[in-house]
Amino acid sequence: MTAHGDACFKLIILDSKPFTWETMIFEPGRFQFMDKPDQTRHVKPGTKKETLTREERQKQLEFQKEAVVHLNSLYNYALHLTMNPDDAEDLVQETYLKAYRFFNSFERGTNCKAWLFKILKNNYINRFRKNSKEPGKVDYDLIKDFYHSIKDVQNDTSEADSDYFHSLLHEEVYQALHSLPEEFREVIQLCDIEGFTYEEIANMVESPIGTVRSRLYRGRKLLREQLEGYAKKYGFNTDTDQ
């Protein structure tokens, strides 16, 4: 409702009850004046928002919709690669910076998550692997420490089930996964955890699809052996069928 007259101001009623002029005197809490109507909802010239071009704004919005939604996945991938929360954070940050800068070269309609993962992987190779002392060597204590240091308050849902698969703990699967040679672990992670297609994985690890297939096959087999090792340790009979 706009009061008329020469003065240009807008009267805003704060509830839905009928408005009378008496209201202004007796119930002042029910309305407020805005002396420059609608100004706040529009861009004032010279504000920060105006300095952004339309294109830039468009890019930002699209980037959020396409790329930022994968933040958690990227973070987890970075954690798996670096085994260190601080490094993982750096890596993700760097990845997003790069991705944003080169967002125009992202092929629209393709899987943005795969694109981001590839950038992250490249960053990782450039930055971290160069300095690593003994690449490929697995430090089980490190994994254990790492896992405990970062473990969420997440409930351990593994009940005392007769099925040994269900009795496996997150940590054991995690350790088993990390005990695999990197080329196997990587494809399993990308396929089973992140749900990429073989084609996307092949592109990411820069190997033919046939190689991805066979690595997955062998990797899963190795993992399976590892897990059975745990199961035996806890006295589950793995010879019975599931």
């Binding site: 920060k48 973070y75 496996l168 955890i193 297939r213 399976r224 069928d241």
Partner: protein, 76 residues
């Protein structure tokens, strides 16, 4: 085998594979095991949440969000 687990077989490959499965218990078992392994990984690997500081700094990158939030606050 892995392609069968991940539904990545081509139509022709799948036909051949299914035909083979119908007469080979060994491969049938192996397929089950492979499927199971995949499921274990999917279910048991904990996905961590990215720390809030990281989320914030990524959001900063795309400052539109911040301005829009301000907008909606004003609007309310």
């Amino acid at each position: 085998m892995s392609a069968a687990v991940d539904c990545e077989l081509s139509l022709r490959e799948e036909q051949v594979f299914l035909l083979h499965l119908s007469e080979c218990q060994e491969c049938k078992d192996e397929l089950e095991e492979a499927k199971n392994t995949k499921m274990i990984i999917k279910e048991k690997i904990v996905q961590f949440k990215a720390p809030q500081t990281l989320i914030n700094s990524i959001m900063e990158l795309t400052s539109v969000t911040r301005l829009e939030q301000e907008d909606s606050v004003l609007f309310e």
